[in-house]
């Protein structure tokens, strides 16, 4: 496992790929406006032109009131094809909706990927993984919470009521289909344990176990667990360091059942997950060294 070797390997790709990317970088912007926006602008302009032409002809041929012309403009606009299929709740929602559509519109062979506020989610239906995360195999309709994002192709990303404050877990609600879990697998920037799992108070933690590379696991006693949980609550999030060696894993179980793991690097004094590195102080390190 060495990402640095991979980065070195990328350095050895064929020259033609470098030339292709160089040519691209030195050429003027291919799309001064994103293609989608350009397409919408062109469509809107075409609709407006048709509407105006129709309106003018109508005005010339009939003596009508100005307000009825406005009605016809509105009608023509309503009749124009709408590039957006779903209706967003608000303007901010619309932006999110379009972003999410970009990810889900890829080839069918790819696993759909959804983004909500810089958190990237994948569907997860594997019972083993769900069990490890403290989630049930199926989601009861009553457990589906408030919608957070409406998808262009249909469907809604919603909160999962039992774990509403854990952004790492969401539910995908689609028409004529059972709701499925979405688990966060990547973030655009390091996220704290509060943001990802709602770990804002030691009281929310029921147990912490240290899992060693030989497969053995030691659960911290109640007092140590509380102290460790308090330390985890206020921990800072930094860029992950995937070159750090992993000595053991920390398995944290929350009161709501959610279970997450953090790798522990003794040499680097770091806890890590897919999103961030969490530098730990001497006190927490001492607690984690207890066997």
């Amino acid at each position: 496992m060495n990402t640095f070797r991979l980065l070195e390997g990328i350095g050895e790709i064929d020259d033609r790929f470098l030339l292709e990317a160089e040519d691209f970088a030195s050429s003027p912007h291919r799309h001064p406006f994103p293609r989608k926006i350009l397409l919408r602008a062109v469509s809107a302009a075409a609709c407006l032109a048709i509407t105006l032409t129709g309106g003018l002809l109508y005005l010339r041929t009939t003596q009508i009131k100005q307000d009825s012309t406005q009605d016809s403009v509105a009608e023509a606009n309503n009749a124009a094809p709408d590039l957006r299929q779903a209706v967003p709740d608000n303007s901010a929602g619309m932006e999110k909706q379009q972003e999410a559509a970009l990810y889900s519109a890829e080839t069918a062979a790819d696993m759909p990927l959804y983004e909500v506020d810089g958190l990237f989610y994948e569907q997860q239906a594997d019972p083993a993984i769900l069990k490890q995360t403290g989630l049930p195999d199926t989601i009861d309709e009553m457990e589906v919470g408030e919608p957070v994002l409406t998808l262009e192709g249909g469907g809604t990303i919603c909160l999962y009521k039992p774990m509403e404050d854990a952004a790492a877990v969401r539910v995908l609600q689609s028409e004529n289909a059972e709701p499925v879990f979405l688990l966060c697998t990547e973030t655009d920037s390091p996220r704290s344990l509060v943001e990802l799992y709602g770990l804002d108070s030691a009281e929310k933690v029921t147990s912490i176990a240290v899992r060693y590379s030989n497969g053995t696991e030691t659960e911290l006693d109640e007092k140590t667990c509380t102290l460790a949980a308090e330390a985890l609550c206020g921990i800072a999030a930094e860029q992950p360091d995937h070159n750090a060696e992993t000595d053991s894993m920390l398995v944290v179980t929350m009161r709501n059942g959610l279970t997450f793991t953090l790798t522990y690097s003794k040499a680097e004094s770091l806890l890590q997950n897919f999103s961030a590195a969490y530098p730990i102080g001497e006190n927490l390190q001492k607690l984690l060294e207890i066997k």
Binding site: L6, E12, L18, A25, L102
Partner: protein, 186 residues
């Protein structure tokens, strides 16, 4: 001056070769070094080392694509400088971020370790790139070879930052699958 003339200067052991290289490729090399190191004095030193590297390599070598040749030398020196800096003190530059992203492409812990030379890995990645649409290929190369920032790539390509992030995410997953298919564990 075209590249073949610059290469001739190296073969003649003329010090003008360095001057002309710097005139034509100085900004290009500095950008590569800066992208990796995010430190001007280190990048400058790195570019000078790259010129020395080229001076030592030509002759006997006669590169067909000089820009790729010098760019590759600069990148390698910058990466090793970054690694050296990191050993002394954690952090610095965007390389840590690149490394964390590329973690997605590696096999799961516990997989059998095959020792592969960088060139063999490069060949495998070239085969992977060959199968990608041009736009995705450029995004990948700009990000992981040139270490361009995602915002910069998005602006150049007229895409949103989220779109580029999403494409890169998918490409890393695909690369991992490609490595698995080719039986490569890095």
């Amino acid at each position: 001056m075209d590249d073949s003339q610059i290469i001739d200067l190296y073969w003649q052991r003329s010090e003008d070769a360095i001057t002309e290289t710097d005139r034509k490729y100085g900004p290009y090399c500095r950008k590569i070094a800066m992208n990796v190191l995010r430190n001007e004095p280190d990048s400058e030193e790195c570019v000078n080392d790259a010129y020395l590297g080229v001076w030592n390599a030509i002759p006997p070598q006669k590169p067909t694509i000089f820009s790729a040749f010098i760019g590759r030398i600069t990148r390698n020196i910058a990466l090793h400088r970054w690694q050296k800096n990191r050993a002394a003190k954690r952090g610095g530059g965007d390389t840590a971020l690149l490394l964390s992203e590329l973690e997605d492409c590696l096999a799961a812990p516990g997989s059998p370790e095959d020792t592969l030379e960088s060139r063999a890995i490069g060949s495998s990645i070239s085969r992977f790139l060959d199968e990608l649409p041009r736009e995705h290929r450029i995004i990948f190369v700009r990000r992981y070879w040139y270490a361009d920032q995602i915002e910069e790539i998005a602006e150049k390509m007229g895409l949103t930052v989220s779109k580029v992030t999403s494409v890169l995410f998918r490409l890393r997953k695909k690369l991992r699958a490609h490595f698995e298919k080719e039986g490569i564990s890095i």
